[in-house]
Amino acid sequence: MITAERKPLEELIEFIRPYKRILLLGCNECVTVCAAGGRKEVGLLASGLQMALLKSGSNIEIRQHTLERQCDPEYVEELVPMLDGAEAIMSMACGCGVQQLAGRFRDKPVFPAVNTKFMGASERQGVWAERCQGCGNCLLGVTGGICPIARCAKQLMNGPCGGSTGGHCEISDDVDCVWQLIWDRLKALGQTERYLDIMPAKDWRPAGGSGPRKIIREDLAE
């Protein structure tokens, strides 16, 4: 999923201070799963903003809504009747959702309420960790299903650096050395000979080196 964290309340207040009526929008997809911008978080943020603004003597009307997917134009259309009177939109979706709204409603300022962080997975309740950088040419088939692009601080492709100690990365004891994980996994799979294969310098074009990426499925595109 795409993970996100809510921005500090003070930053959000500064975004909306000039307005009297805003629409606060959540998203039912990734940001709901990582508890950053779903229906529940929309309610909490609306109350928080109203209380903070009341304390400073201003009043704001916040209309709340949560879309099934903010990155999908089909669902974004639902908002048209809700926007009457709203001077601005604050989105609790990832950056994709925010931009979808800004592209559709060009006369309304759109503000992000969360910082989009990374593509990750849940490690345990309340903990999400980066797992994929969307490099466009998946290596997991040759690295035991563990990604050195997303999970190695140096994005090393041919084994660990000298900073790997006791299975940990030199940047922090809280970070696993991904090459230790890969080695352990290859050992468990009986594929340790793969470790000696030299991986060539990575082609970064599919990772966005040639500019913003796009997927066009001719069989689906209208």
């Binding site: 310098a201 990575k202 082609d203 970064w204 074009r205 990772a207 080196g209 040639s210 500019g211």
Partner: protein, 290 residues
């Protein structure tokens, strides 16, 4: 007179561009530079121009300085992060290279290492600000330097193909001047008359304007640029002139020399680009009566 002093004295500066080799054979670079000694104010050494991997500009510049030729190096943001850029800038100063043009990068996809990772840690304005800060004795994280460098910082105006793009390019140049660039280099000017409005607009940036003069080596190149790049403003008269000439190569050199001469009225200097024909630079200077 040094390049910096010439600019400060508002005198016409003549610069020539020379590329480093793609390899370690430096004989051509050094020989071409020797023939220019005393004839140009400085040689501009681009860094991996057009996205082609070559010997670094700093090494090339040091080689030329060893021949007694003042140099200006290009720095840009595609291939180096803020650490490497600052480190190279400090190295440039101590190696005697104190003129830096903050240049635009060619897209990695258009170079000869299109699979390489793009850095772009800073943008051009960020790089100009970093160079300014180094001059103040601090790095961009605010740490003190043990000895501050001194640079003249120029920048390049991005090429444009229509009036709208020209306005954007000028706005970008204005921001770079505000950040600390003290002179600007234009895209190639083929016909000073047809580019008069642009040159006038460039003057409004309030810093010396150095026009690029690009050697048209053949009719085919002139036609290609005229057809593919309307912003270059190569007029039909110029194409006709080259076509009708009995010695087109000589005509191209003559046109470059005349362009340099004409630009004396509207610019504070020129950068002559010959892209591989650096051995012809003395001829162009002869034609320009320099």
């Amino acid at each position: 007179m040094s390049f910096q002093k010439r600019l400060a004295a508002k005198e016409f500066a003549v610069l020539a561009e020379m590329h480093t080799p793609k390899g370690v054979n430096i004989s051509r670079l050094v020989n071409d530079a020797r023939r220019l000694k005393g004839r140009v104010d400085a040689v501009v050494v681009p860094d991996m121009d057009n996205g082609i991997m070559r010997m670094s500009a700093l090494a090339g510049a040091v080689l030329l300085q060893q021949q007694g030729v003042e140099t200006i190096i290009h720095m840009y943001c595609r291939d180096r992060n803020r650490m490497a850029l600052q480190g190279d800038a400090l190295a440039a100063h101590v190696l005697g290279v104190q003129n830096i043009i903050v240049a635009n990068s060619t897209e990695m996809a258009d170079g000869d290492h299109s699979d390489a990772q793009v850095v772009d840690d800073l943008d051009e304005i960020g790089l100009i600000e970093a160079l300014k800060k180094l001059q103040e004795g601090k790095d961009i994280s605010g740490f003190d330097l043990d000895g501050a460098p001194d640079f003249s910082i120029g920048t390049a105006i991005s090429p444009f193909s229509n009036d709208e793009e020209m306005a954007t390019a000028l706005d970008s140049a204005r921001a770079r001047v505000a950040a600390g660039a003290t002179y600007i280099v234009t895209p190639p000017i083929f016909d000073p008359q047809l580019s008069a409005s642009f040159l006038k607009a460039a003057q409004s940036l309030g810093v010396p304007v150095l026009a690029t003069v690009f050697l048209l080596k053949s009719l085919a190149i002139a036609q290609y640029i005229a057809n593919s790049d309307p912003g270059a403003r190569i007029g039909d008269d110029l194409i006709r002139r080259i076509r009708k000439s009995s010695d087109r190569e000589q005509e191209g050199l003559k046109i470059a020399g005349e362009t340099v001469q004409t630009l004396r009225d509207s610019c504070q200097g020129v950068v002559i680009q010959t892209l591989g024909w650096e051995h012809k630079l003395p001829t162009i200077l002869d034609m320009a009566q320099l």
